[in-house]
């Protein structure tokens, strides 16, 4: 296994992919929560529909995506002003709007298409794992409302957290684009009845 930097809290999202039903509750909850400007292109999180035909049988998969809060975040490295940064304490990647010059280098650098330019803010915006909610003792908005129980959030440093349990019990888990060496903190598993 690779070595990740040590953090006081190691926040992570574990997505049970089979349990995503593409109901879009997460997308609307996120828009409402963070006043993401109207328009389809503006989002902090999204559900992709992936369709293919295998052996003559149609397979349709729903895949929630959001910022991976990478431990090796390309968006942070390319930011010329230091507006994009990664918090030492919990690894959450954030943008400080008043330091952002809108060059969009981070949007290009992100392999996950997880950032967008917020015209109203005049800055690039992205998922924060709902940090201000975490500080009020609430779950991220998308997790809280996830109708299928697909999204799960917690601290991997805590062996009793739902995310630790899910990863421990999963026969298989994966991250997106591991070959990019970004060390994502969003993990995907295929199936589980154990979500909250």
């Amino acid at each position: 296994m690779f070595e990740r930097p040590k953090k006081e809290k190691n926040y992570a999202m574990v997505i049970v992919q089979d349990r995503c039903v593409d109901c879009k509750a997460c997308e609307v909850a996120c828009k409402a929560m963070w006043e993401v400007p109207d328009g389809k292109l503006n989002y902090r999180t999204k559900v992709l529909d992936i369709e293919k035909i295998e052996n003559g049988i149609r397979k349709m998969t729903f895949m929630p995506i959001l910022c991976n809060q990478c431990d090796n975040p390309p968006c942070v490295w390319v930011c010329p002003t230091g507006a994009s940064y990664k918090r030492k304490s919990d690894g959450i990647v954030l943008v400080t709007p008043n330091m952002c010059i809108g060059c969009k280098a981070c949007m290009e650098a992100c392999p996950y298409d997880a950032r967008y330019y917020n015209e109203e803010l005049g800055a690039v915006d992205k998922c924060t794992f709902c940090l201000p909610r975490l500080e009020s003792g609430l779950e991220p908005a998308c997790v809280q409302t996830c109708v299928g129980g697909s999204r799960n959030f917690g601290d991997l440093n805590d062996p009793n957290s739902i995310v630790s349990k899910l990863l421990k019990e999963a026969t298989n888990y994966w991250v997106l684009k591991p070959e990019d060496g970004t060390f994502p903190n969003d993990f995907y598993i295929s199936n589980s009845a154990k979500t909250e």
Partner: protein
């Protein structure tokens, strides 16, 4: 550093570290603004009214504005979850297209020309009109259709006005009627609005056109997702590949209208191969001996010829589901208003479930429980002078006079009405003229088949009153429009819901009304007062009604309700977890043992209690004597669907998308972002025959009727040949709902308005239309 965007899903096991991880540090920490924790000024309690599942919620308010809606995690209905529609309730509250004052019509019906009036003028006007109708024609000529939490308020006005039997809750006749009546004749119980499917504990689920993921209700879908987590086997039967098909282990693309053949063949296999649950069938059912010879002819081979589903497939499914009995379920469609033989389908499904013995069993049907709450203190409506006048006149129920339904159905229809027939009674003015109609929270131009007839019907009325939130199409025809407050701006009567986990929740205003609107109790109070009937409405608004029942509750219950927003009978035992290596028998026993100690019991049969059924026989009627007495089939039979007479005409089917509710959310900005126009799904072979390509702009044509707003063709084999699909609730023609005006094609205009002879409910899917390039 690669900076190109690449395709997703090159998934592999995380494990190989390609780069070493640099140290994390933030040299500019001093320059950053501090992030403030999220703290709304105020949190109020509510339950959602974006659909009729009514999820319990909290409303977060900042600076006097609703900023976020969130499921109430203490509620056993939705566990803190809301769907996209629920989350988007804010955009309905702040929709600038809302009805903002009472309006009185000044133009022709349909023109949408109004004058704004004060509430006093509006009350006076409605009171005068009701009086005129009563004086001239009698109180029985007042009719009502209603849907939503305010039903008791508007219904009370209707009763005080002497309205008798001519009312309808469209949820029966336009939606679940045939399903519910089929179960009623079999189990003595309708499934109702919050269905008792124990999906989360089920090991094998067959969904007959029940699109769980798109016609979605939060807890039902959550329980369905739990079943997926438990690796339950899911079979989905539908002419269309939906998002639910994507979640199924097996998708069977059935020919439309042939579901009954499929289910009868399942029963055939279960009976001929002796796969039934003998203990259960002997103890709890009547008529199995009559079913045996009856079912012989419905072989899987015969069903293959009807449904297009292979006989071997049917045999395999019947064997598989039986092997999981009783922890399995065959789920009927919710909106069962389809082909006019829908009660037969419902009966067949009910009987198949009975043979599996899954009633009141984990993974089958649970027993719903309810917490009793006191009603608000109000005088008896029968004391009203108009109610007494109506009693003297003793007019016939118009709807029943126009139908020939079996006795038991007549009793149900007496309670829920038949909206389809009620409008026909208005249109034909038979058996006697109905002269006033109230539409509360329903849009008859979108929930009736062949809906242009409704315009004709409205023109027969002396008075048409609408209470709604947005200026939808039917408001254009109304003589008076009362603007109702949204659920986020008002109190409402206390709500106790019967479900697996019974609960009570309440609604309080999060903000003052954004526009000059009132709640339904205030509206009916105003009208009644102007008619000299004020004494029947002792509270001037919903707040009074709410507190009247609240104050009668025991103090501990009341305190808990006000503190948490919801009360339930907890703690709730955990569902079975079958995802590991646990023996399912052990897992089920563990759960049942926990329920032995719980204050409510959803599985009385599994727990060995004696259960009797509300049928004439006290048992589950596989063979139904009362249907036989009424001249109907006592055992389910199959009638093939109608056929198109012309070439290149396609059966029109419709359904819902996950982000809209019926025809009532199409102006919501956030929901429009996800679905803002319906398209016509057409099979590639059909498209080729009429030279339509994917993305072409098309219109629907039926006789002289042509859809006014072109939509895109979606050419896909997700829809079976010979059939086209459109999402429900589009083709919006009210210019006042600007975000969806002129968007989409209306299913209501083009679908059939047939009916089922046993339930009386509508049958919408017998219509054939052609598709033309726009």
């Amino acid at each position: 550093m690669q900076i190109k965007r690449r395709t997703f899903l090159k998934g592999a096991l995380a494990g190989s570290a390609l780069l070493s991880v640099p140290l994390i540090f933030d040299s500019k920490a001093q320059a950053r603004e501090e992030l403030k924790p999220y703290k709304p000024d105020k949190v109020t309690f509510n339950f959602c009214e974006m659909c009729f599942w009514n999820c319990t919620e909290k409303v977060f308010v900042n600076d006097g504005k609703v900023i976020k809606l969130e499921g109430n995690d203490k509620s056993p209905l939705n566990w803190g979850k809301l769907c996209a529609k629920g989350q988007a309730g804010i955009k309905t509250l702040y929709d600038d297209n809302r009805l903002k004052t009472p309006l009185i019509r000044v133009g022709e019906r349909g023109e949408g020309k109004w004058k704004k009036v004060s509430w006093e003028e509006a009350f006076e006007f409605a009171a005068k009109k009701f009086k005129e109708v009563i004086d001239k024609y009698g109180p029985e000529t007042i009719a009502l259709e209603m849907h939503g939490t305010g039903e008791p308020g508007i219904h009370r006005l209707f009763e005080v006005l002497g309205g008798t039997t001519n009312f309808a809750i469209p949820a029966y006749s336009q939606c679940t009627g045939s399903r519910d009546i089929g179960f009623y004749y079999t189990f003595g119980a309708a499934l109702g609005g919050h269905e008792p499917y124990d999906l989360s504990n089920s090991r094998y689920i067959i969904l007959i056109g029940r699109n769980e993921t798109e016609s979605l209700h939060v807890s039902e879908l959550y329980h369905f997702a739990k079943a997926i987590g438990n690796k339950a086997k899911i079979v989905y039967v539908d002419p269309r590949y939906t998002h639910t098909a994507a979640k199924a282990d097996k998708f069977l693309q059935i020919k439309p209208g042939t579901d009954t053949a499929f289910v009868l063949a399942l029963i055939n296999v279960m009976v001929t191969e002796d796969l039934i649950n003998h203990d259960f069938v002997e103890k709890y059912t009547t008529g199995y001996d009559k079913l045996k010879p009856h079912i012989v002819k419905y072989t899987p081979q015969w069903a293959e010829s009807q449904t297009g589903i292979k006989a071997d497939e049917i045999i395999q499914i019947a064997r598989e589901i039986s092997s999981f009995a009783p922890n399995c379920i065959i789920v009927p469609p919710r909106r069962s208003t389809r082909y006019g033989f829908d009660t037969q389908l419902s009966r067949a499904i009910a009987i198949a479930n009975a043979l599996l013995g899954n009633w009141f069993q984990p993974g089958g049907f649970f027993k719903a429980n309810k917490i009793k709450v006191p009603n608000a203190d109000m005088p008896d409506v029968e004391e009203s002078k108009y109610a007494q006048l109506a009693q003297q006149r003793n007019a016939a129920n118009a709807v029943l006079s126009l139908t020939n339904l079996p006795n038991t159905t007549q009793e149900i229809v007496g309670v829920l009405g038949l909206d389809n027939v009620l409008w026909e009674a208005i249109r034909t003015q038979k058996p006697y003229p109905i002269k006033a109609m109230i539409s509360y929270g329903t849009n008859p131009l979108f929930h009736n088949g062949d809906s242009n007839k409704i315009k004709e019907a409205i023109n027969k009325l002396d008075f048409y009153m609408v209470v709604d939130i947005l200026p939808w199409e039917h408001t254009l025809y109304a003589d008076i429009v009362f603007p109702e407050s949204t659920y986020l701006e008002k109190y409402d009567a206390l709500k106790s819901i019967s479900w697996k986990y019974p609960y009570v929740h309440f609604r309080e205003p999060a903000v003052d009304p954004v526009y000059d609107t009132k709640d339904i109790w205030a509206i009916v109070h105003g009208i009644a007062k102007h008619m000299g009937l004020g004494e029947f409405f002792p509270y001037k608004d919903a707040k009074g009604v709410f507190f009247s029942s609240l104050n009668q509750m025991p103090k501990d219950q009341r305190d808990k309700l006000l503190k948490d927003g919801v009360i339930s009978l907890g703690p709730i035992p955990e569902d079975v977890d079958l995802s590991g290596d646990i023996d399912p028998k052990v897992a089920y026993q563990k759960m049942l043992d926990a329920y032995k100690k719980a204050p409510f019991n959803p599985y009385p049969i599994a727990l060995g209690e004696d259960v009797s059924f509300n049928t004439g026989s006290g048992k589950i009627d596989i063979y139904c004597e009362s249907l036989k007495e009424g001249g109907f089939d006592p055992l389910p039979t199959y009638t093939p669907p109608n056929k198109s007479k012309k070439q290149n005409e396609f059966r029109l089917v419709f359904g819902r998308v996950a982000v809209h509710t019926h025809a009532r959310t199409q102006d919501n900005e956030w929901l429009l972002e996800h679905y803002d126009d319906n398209s016509v799904w057409i099979n590639p072979k059909d498209a080729k025959a009429i030279n339509i390509k994917d993305g072409d702009k098309v219109v629907l044509v039926k006789g002289n009727l042509k859809s006014p707003y072109p939509v895109k063709a979606k050419v896909t084999d997700k829809i079976i040949e010979g059939t086209i699909f459109i999402a429900h609730g589009w083709g919006r023609f009210s210019p006042y709902v600007t975000r969806c005006y002129k968007k989409g094609v209306s299913d209501a205009e083009f679908c059939s308005n047939d009916s089922d002879p046993v339930s009386g409910a509508a049958a919408f899917l017998n219509s054939f239309v052609s598709v033309e390039k726009a």
